[in-house]
């Protein structure tokens, strides 16, 4: 297998899934009608409801759904099961489930006065479903935060070359905010300066490598070279299991990332989050454009970087030793989340994009089209890790992507630095926004019972502390799979809701119902497998060794997994009852009502 063939297969997948399946559902099942008034037109308020041009809305929606998920998931899955099952799930998932989930989330909201999934669940399924979804979302965000902070801290600590770039990105983001909004400098000049300096710092990360190594050594000397926390991690040493050591330097980078996210969460958007995202976009876009085009032509120009080097298939249940059970079904389907199907997309599509749809004919190109574009991002990550050298997953990804970029004449060491930076930037900018949403969620959930969490600083610190606890005491691969399970369960629940709605209005529900059943059963199973793995392989050994911090962290992870299972079962039962009710007697079309989230 080589990258050119994979890119061609990916492009064919996008074309066939869109023209042969998605468009058919849009025409014959949903019957999108360009003449029907959308909520954006009916309730236009210039803020929430705003008819928006199709091309602009596509960019907005894609930017909101494309984050680290498709990249990290593909990297982890390729290392666990090989590239073949990973690429098959990406292709089949996006063709039969992914686009349907994203598109249907938007359709559901557009046809229900722009209401959010939870509000529609409240009306169509049962009142308690809304409350359960709310709790579900908080823990879902916590898992994402823990997984993202964990992987960023590990990459930054182990790759001193990347540290200068991240520090300069932060500084340049703050400078850009000051230039644009306070000094009123022109955008072009400010962009050239801030993006240019950031790029130089990323490419020149090697210049300060020794300085940062010495800095880390100094930090670690503070504890006499002893780890702060030691825990048994069954996924280390190529899944043979080993003691993981949290050194002061790792904690430092985790705290530095948390400080960054804390600032991004509490400072005005214009001061930090928005300009950092803007600078980061250029770095990411540059890497992705050079990488994807490089992957397509590498077979002709530089064949040595285009050949897959990792095994195609490692088995249905790879011999993972003490890492416990890791069966391809259900675990592959939650490890690769966003590139195939993602609950976040449906959630965001329903509450954000749907309220800006100008014309029903735009629902498919924006919802389905964005998902197919995200599939290509997941495919790029899979290609990069498949041609990359052995080693840590993110390192393999950066080596692979660096190889693709080097096709265009960029020296390999600079190309690899750019690839590492792109990865960190993508994760970092998403995480800072995620903490903001999580803080608001916590305040809404517990603000009445525990008034101090209404304070943004208190709520932010709680969110950051919980994420660090998960990072320090859990096992990263399991944490990622737990997040994947929650994310995919969200997709299953949104498809379930779409199914209930379709049957309630007398439409054919199979295109959403069958994926809903598959994802529901798969994610329930995966959450139980993950809970078992954490309990048997992390909680148990660490408890036996008397290591209390990892015991608390892994215990928390098991509890979260079981909580998610309980929430999913309750929603599933309510959904099934509603489905049966509407099959017997379809509901009347909803009356126009004020939209709510």
């Amino acid at each position: 297998m080589n990258t050119l063939l994979a890119v061609i297969i990916g492009a064919l997948t996008v074309y066939l899934a869109y023209t042969l399946y998605a468009r058919r559902i849009d025409r014959h099942v949903i019957q999108s009608d360009p003449k029907r008034k959308t909520p954006a037109a009916l309730y236009m308020d210039g803020v929430d409801f705003m008819p928006t041009n199709r091309n602009i809305l596509f960019g907005y929606h894609f930017k909101s759904i494309a984050a680290a998920g498709p990249i990290i998931g593909a990297i982890v899955a390729a290392n666990l099961w090989g590239w073949l099952p990973s690429i098959l799930w990406l292709i089949l998932g996006v063709s039969f489930l992914g686009w349907a989930s994203d598109y249907s989330g938007i359709v559901l909201s557009v046809r229900n006065e722009g209401n959010s999934l939870s509000a529609i669940a409240h009306r169509l399924v049962s009142p308690r479903t809304r409350t359960i979804l709310f709790v579900f979302i908080f823990f879902y965000l916590l898992l994402v935060a823990g997984a993202f902070v964990g992987i960023m801290a590990t990459v930054l600590e182990s790759q001193p070359k990347t540290q200068l770039g991240v520090i300069v990105l932060t500084a340049m983001g703050l400078l850009l905010g000051q230039m644009l909004y306070r000094w009123r400098t022109g955008l072009v000049g400010a962009t050239v300066l801030t993006v240019g300096v950031t790029l130089v710092a990323i490419l020149g990360g090697g210049w300060t490598e020794e300085v940062f190594k010495a800095f880390s050594a100094g930090l670690n000397a503070m504890s006499g070279g002893a780890p702060l926390v030691t825990y048994f991690d069954p996924t280390l040493a190529n899944f043979k299991g080993a003691d993981a050591k949290i050194m002061p330097s790792l904690l430092f980078w985790a705290l530095a990332i948390s400080a960054f996210c804390y600032a991004g969460s509490v400072l005005p958007i214009w001061r930090m989050a928005q300009p950092v995202i803007y600078v980061g976009f250029w770095i990411t876009a540059l890497s992705m454009v050079l990488g994807l085009s490089g992957a397509a032509v590498a077979s002709f120009v530089k064949p040595e970087v285009a050949q897959f080097v990792i095994p195609a298939f490692k088995g249905f249940n790879p011999q993972l030793g003490p890492a416990g059970i890791m069966p391809l079904w259900p675990m592959l389907f939650v490890t690769i989340a966003c590139g195939a199907i993602s609950g976040w997309h449906a959630l965001f599509g329903a509450v954000g994009t749907a309220r800006q749809i100008e014309n029903e004919a735009d629902m498919l190109p924006i919802g389905g089209g964005s998902m197919l574009a995200e599939f290509m991002l997941g495919l790029l990550a899979l290609l990069a890790v498949s041609v990359g050298a052995k080693g840590a997953p993110v390192g393999a990804f950066a080596t692979g992507l660096g190889g693709f970029i080097s096709v265009w004449g960029v020296p390999i060491q600079y190309a690899t630095s750019l690839a590492f930076a792109a990865f960190i930037v993508i994760v970092l900018v998403v995480t800072q926004l995620l903490f903001r949403v999580q803080r608001v969620t916590l305040s809404e959930w517990l603000g009445d019972v525990i008034p101090p969490v209404r304070n943004q600083h208190v709520a932010s610190l709680i969110c950051v502390a919980l994420a660090i606890l998960l990072m320090m005491t859990g096992t990263w691969v399991y944490l990622w799979q737990l997040f994947g399970g929650a994310n995919q369960m969200m997709a299953a629940l949104s498809l379930l809701l779409v199914t209930v709605w379709l049957v309630s209005v007398g439409k054919n529900w199979l295109y959403a119902g069958l994926p809903a059943i598959f994802m529901y059963v798969t994610t329930l199973a995966s959450l139980l497998v993950t809970a078992y793995n954490i309990y048997a392989n992390v909680y148990g050994p660490n408890l036996a060794a008397g290591r209390m911090i990892p015991v608390i962290g892994s215990g928390l992870m098991v509890l979260v997994a079981l909580l998610l299972v309980a929430a999913a079962v309750l929603i599933g039962v309510d959904g099934w009852r509603a489905f049966q009710r509407y099959r017997r007697q379809p509901a009347a079309q909803p009356r126009p009502a004020a939209a709510r989230a």
Binding site: G46, V47, D48, I56, G59, S116, S118, A119, F134, I137, L180, Y181, R182, R184, G186, L187, V188, G189, T191, L267, P268, I269, W270, R271, Q274, P275, Y278, F281, V351, G352, R436, V437, V440, T441, E444, R596, A597
Partner: protein
């Protein structure tokens, strides 16, 4: 207020410093008057200057300061909206003038 509105409200409240927020408010108010002033013949496209689209628009149209306006290729940079009104009126007059020959009956 739901979660979505809370987050949206917070993002909007802190999207701009106070002075720029006031400027944006004035701009928005003025944009809403256009339909009445020009009988709905004007379509307005607002581009966020601090965005990727804003970057390319600024580069192509050579806008180095904001707010900046482009009316059928004519440029104006500043906050005196009466100048933009004048540009729009002129553009509409030229459009009317260009349309006249094609709609005038001809003698054979």
């Amino acid at each position: 207020m739901g979660l979505r509105q809370k987050v949206q409200q917070e993002l909007m409240d802190s999207a701009l410093p106070d002075d720029l927020k006031a400027e944006f408010h004035d701009l928005s108010q003025w944009a809403h008057t256009l339909a009445g002033k020009f009988d709905g013949r004007v379509s307005v496209r607002l581009v966020d200057a601090a965005s990727i689209e804003g970057f390319f628009k600024s580069l192509i149209r050579r806008f180095w300061h904001y707010p900046a306006f482009a009316v059928e290729g004519q440029r104006y940079v500043g906050s005196d909206f009466s100048q933009v009104d004048a540009l729009i009126a002129r553009a509409l007059r030229e459009e009317d003038r260009a349309r006249v020959p094609s709609t005038t009956p001809t003698d054979n």
